[in-house]
């Protein structure tokens, strides 16, 4: 803390810590993973989000992941009720949740047990635990606490018991509301955070609740800060990494999707509440009117799709946001949009399936459902966001593609991106991104409603209001005049024209970039939110001398060109995915009977290469440590065969 600016910041903490001496004891670290876990409703997530945002504002690389209990009101002090957040922060870009946590603040010992069971910690993890339970009136609780401490010791965790509750009671009568800001203060000192930024952030969080609430939370923060200064012998600093001339924004993937919609010129989002997609609509419900937009909460998922299709047909390309079960319901509508060639943007924030599955957890399981869900051949564009920044920019691209190719575009995000927070360069919004005003000029009557270009399948679209363009959209087989026609030639032609658009689109795409050498022993192929983890894991394998590279697909339908050629330059190709595949060592599983993960199935068909897969349905984001072990094991195997 020898930075004068920071000294001033500390002084700002009026009275309480003014007397604090500047200590020169902060240890410099490259990165750390911090977790805060509590019962649901104790505000651990708010604490961690604020810690993450302040860190991002200080120029650190940040990635946050929420730890979400599956139930709304899980019983208190149970492993299942663990609610919290993980923040990975460092002096470089953070692209994923990382491996084992370095430091954990736990509000009770039971929630810690659940994180241990999830393998979130190792023997180097330091745990700061509220010791209020040691002196609880209930003997059973005291016993549970003592037992858990023994359990943790056996596991090798270093546990520091702290009187967090007791300290909070000095500030507020009921620390259940407020302990989180005390902990934020503790963390602010332990990680040398900019207190001015933290206090400002607290003010903005509680802005709607009034001055009194703000000052109470400021007091809690200051008390935590002072407590850490006095009593916790942990003090780090992490250098800033961001380039000073770049303006950065920090948000989660659903907020980025919402902002992308606002910047895309789309004015209508029709949705039905579904986890983990809904927070994007919450965001829009607050902000959409600034661009004249409207969120329609429909009576069901089907109506949400139908409503957007109606608006799109009438000239205002619209968007519907959902998750897996909603995609299942919207399938017929998406097929209609494909058949009738209506531009439409569908955002699928994927969660675990099948059926209601794992509503709050991550999977990449909707790829095949979105691609093949509809009956008959229903070509469409499918893109997958890999970063928070993609969540923003891809929506804008999706709207343009939907209109240019007169087709539904599905943008796949997932629960990991939806709640993950990461800074990215502030987009310079361009009004080219907005849709142009609805064309109401006279339609040339000589041009048919589906005036398919034989080569590309593309056609211009009459919009209601264009005189002379009157036509009837139908989901039935139709000819270029939009007239129902069931004959063989017409149906064959219609299907070819709709399919040809995808072939035409491939002409506009570049082959994906290979991360690492362009050839080698093993190529890892991924898509979606696993980008950061895979590239980090590949980096570890390469540092260990293995000839491994990776490629990450942004377009799933149509595929970017050149995949067969890229794959052919490696001895083996393996996808890494968050969806189900049979383990080759399981009973009855042979090369013939094995069911591959979703991208692997598509790539095998697409490239005619024997592409392998590694996938999991743990519901959790992939960790680079685990993936690097998988990759290195496979690389060693290939090297042995060489």
């Amino acid at each position: 803390m020898n930075d004068p600016a920071e000294l001033i910041a500390v002084k700002q903490i009026d009275g309480v810590v003014e007397e604090l001496q500047v200590r020169d004891s902060a240890t410099s670290i490259g990165e750390h993973i911090v977790e805060i876990v509590s019962d649901s409703g104790e505000g651990a997530q708010k604490c961690g989000q604020t810690f993450g945002i302040v860190s991002a504002r200080m120029g650190n690389g940040v990635w946050t992941v929420e730890i979400i209990p599956a139930e709304i009101q899980p019983p208190a002090r149970t492993p299942d009720g663990a609610s919290g957040i993980r923040i990975r922060l460092g002096d470089s870009l953070m692209t994923n949740m990382g491996n084992d946590a370095n430091l954990v603040v736990a509000f009770n010992e039971q929630v810690l047990r659940s994180r241990i069971a999830s393998n979130a910690y190792d023997e180097k993890t330091v745990v700061l635990l509220d010791n209020m339970w040691a002196s609880d009136r209930d003997e059973k609780i005291r016993q549970q606490y003592a037992d858990a401490l023994l359990e943790f010791a056996e596991y090798g965790l270093e546990v520091i018991e702290l009187p967090i509750q007791e300290e909070c009671l000095k500030v507020v009568p009921d620390p259940r509301k407020g302990k989180n800001m005390f902990v934020l203060g503790m963390l602010a000192h332990m990680y040398s955070r900019d207190t001015e930024k933290a206090l400002a952030e607290i003010s903005s969080i509680f802005a709607r609740k009034g001055e009194k609430v703000i000052s109470t939370n400021h007091a809690l923060f200051k008390a935590g800060y002072k407590f850490a200064y006095d009593s916790i012998d942990i003090h780090y600093e992490i250098a800033s990494h961001s380039e000073p001339d770049k303006r950065m924004v920090v948000m989660n993937g659903n907020q980025a999707v919402g902002l992308g919609i606002m910047a895309s010129g789309m004015e209508l989002v029709a949705m039905y509440p579904i986890t983990p997609a809904t927070s994007a609509s919450h965001f829009l419900a607050d902000e959409f009117q600034r661009v004249g937009g409207f969120v329609h909460q429909a009576e069901d998922e089907i109506a949400a799709a139908g409503f957007s299709i109606g608006a799109s047909y009438a000239g205002k390309t619209a968007c519907t946001i959902t998750s897996g079960p909603g995609i299942a319901l919207k399938t017929e509508m998406i097929g209609l949009a494909s058949m009738a060639e209506i531009p439409l943007v569908i955002i699928d924030v994927q969660r675990g399936g099948p059926s209601t599955g794992l509503p709050t957890k991550v999977e990449q399981s909707d790829l095949l459902a979105t691609l093949f869900g509809a009956p008959g051949d229903s070509p469409k564009i499918i893109m997958a966001a890999a970063t928070i920044s993609d969540c923003f920019h891809f929506v804008i691209l999706a709207r343009k593609l939907a209109e240019s190719f007169r087709t539904p575009v599905i943008l796949l995000s997932d629960a990991n991106l939806a709640t993950g927070v990461q800074p990215f360069e502030r987009p310079e919004v361009n009004d080219d991104w907005f849709s142009s005003p609805i064309d109401q000029s006279e339609w040339d009557k000589k041009v048919s409603a589906y005036d398919w270009d034989e080569e590309t399948g593309l056609s211009a679209r009459p919009i209601p209001g264009m005189r002379g363009g009157e036509y009837v959209v139908t989901g039935l087989a139709h000819n270029r005049y939009a007239k129902i026609a069931y004959d063989a030639t017409t149906n064959q032609a219609g299907c070819s024209m709709r399919s040809r658009k995808l072939a035409a689109m491939v002409q506009t795409l570049e082959p994906p970039k290979v991360h690492g050498d362009p050839e080698g022993d093993l190529l890892i192929v991924g898509w979606g939110s696993t980008l950061g983890t895979i590239e980090e894991a590949v980096g570890v394998a390469r540092e260990n001398g293995h000839k491994v590279s990776s490629v990450h697909l942004r377009f799933l339908s149509p595929f970017e060109p050149g995949l067969r050629e890229i794959c052919s330059r490696f001895k083996q190709v393996m996808t890494v995915e968050l969806n189900y595949s049979d383990d080759i060592d399981s009973p009855y599983i042979t090369d013939e009977s094995r069911r591959y993960s979703q991208l692997a199935q598509l790539l095998r068909a697409h490239t005619l290469l024997d592409i392998d897969c590694w996938s999991t349905v743990s519901g959790n984001p992939l960790q680079p440590g685990k993936i690097s072990r998988v990759i290195i094991d496979r690389a060693i195997q290939i090297e042995g065969e060489n």
Binding site: F294, A303, P464, E470
Partner: protein, 317 residues
């Protein structure tokens, strides 16, 4: 002179639409099908109101009724079974300038699309919804529909429909924010025309249940009424559907019914001994969702740009 206006040359450039200007493809409904009468009335209302074909959109689902858009020379949307209403609402949501019509049937609206029916009535967007209710599935050949009379034999219930039919009037009148409920029969063209015209003039969702003849698959439901006009009850009121001269005489049962009276309307809808024809209920003050959903249409690109930038700046580090 000769009644010509002095600016007749300008007038010649104005557009005047005849019935032909609204007639699309040749209808492929069966001979004697009541749908033909409904279509003719729709064409007449379009001509009467001189609707701009390019600003008129007819939306339908799937079924015999839902062929209607093809028989109109306006914009049309022949979509999915049961889903006409959400699509129509979407069309209207950001295009208040479009005149939206919905053609649907008893299977389309009351069965597979029942959820949308209830909600669309509550949204009360400004559109005209015509339900062609023949009490049977026609296109797929004689399956029981929600309004098939009890005991009527169908291909799915060969020993007769097992449940009493759904009552579209009580359901519609039971929806909050409902603004227009009328019932009519297809075989009284002057009254059908007046009903559809009144529905179109109403601001909000006008729901018209049209009892429609299907000579091919349903003989009971309509024949009873055709054979026994005493079963019909004509609703008269100065706020109701205007009854053309001479037409009123055909009805031996008539009632002065104030369409502003919801409980009287519910009473009429519940009494199955008589089939009310005319306007059961109208509330011109019901909230219209399209007035909410079209907020912000007038924003300029500059205002939008400023809006996005302001929100983005909230996230600046």
């Amino acid at each position: 002179m000769f009644g010509l206006k002095s600016d007749w040359s300008v007038k010649a450039n104005d557009r005047y639409f005849t019935l032909d200007d609204y007639a699309g493809a040749e209808p492929r409904w069966c001979t004697g099908c009541g749908d033909l009468a409904i279509l003719a009335s729709v064409h007449r209302v379009c001509r009467e109101k001189q609707l701009l074909p390019e600003k008129t959109v007819s939306v339908s689902g799937i079924g015999c009724s839902s062929r209607l858009p093809h028989y109109m020379k306006t914009y049309g949307f022949h979509g999915l079974h049961g889903r006409a209403l959400p699509v129509a609402c979407g069309v209207k949501s950001r295009r208040p300038d479009l005149d939206v019509w919905v053609a649907t049937g008893d299977g389309d609206c009351f069965s597979i699309g029942a959820g949308h029916w209830v909600h669309a009535l509550r949204y009360n967007m400004d559109m005209t919804v015509l339900v062609f209710d023949n009490g049977i599935y026609g296109l797929t050949k004689k399956q029981t529909s929600p309004t098939t009379p009890e005991e009527y034999q169908t291909n799915t219930h060969p020993s007769g429909a097992v449940l009493p039919p759904l009552n579209p009037l009580t359901v519609s009148l039971g929806v909050s924010n409902i603004s227009f409920v009328a019932q009519m029969v297809d075989w009284n063209p002057p009254l059908l025309y007046e009903t559809i015209k009144a529905a179109h003039e109403h601001k909000g969702t006008s729901f018209v249940r049209i009892v429609q003849r299907c000579p091919v698959f349903m003989d009971v439901m309509n024949d009873e009424m055709l054979d026994d006009p005493a079963r019909l009850l004509l609703l008269n009121h100065e706020q109701g559907i205007p009854v053309p001269d001479g037409v009123g005489k055909l009805f031996e049962n008539q009632l002065d019914h104030d369409p502003g009276d919801l409980s009287a309307a519910l009473g009429l809808a519940t009494d199955l001994s008589k089939i009310p024809v005319g306007l059961l209920y109208r509330n011109p003050d019901a909230r219209m969702y399209n007035e909410i959903s079209s907020n912000g249409l007038d924003l300029s690109h500059e205002e939008k740009l400023a809006g996005v930038n302001e929100v983005l700046d909230k996230f600046l580090i």
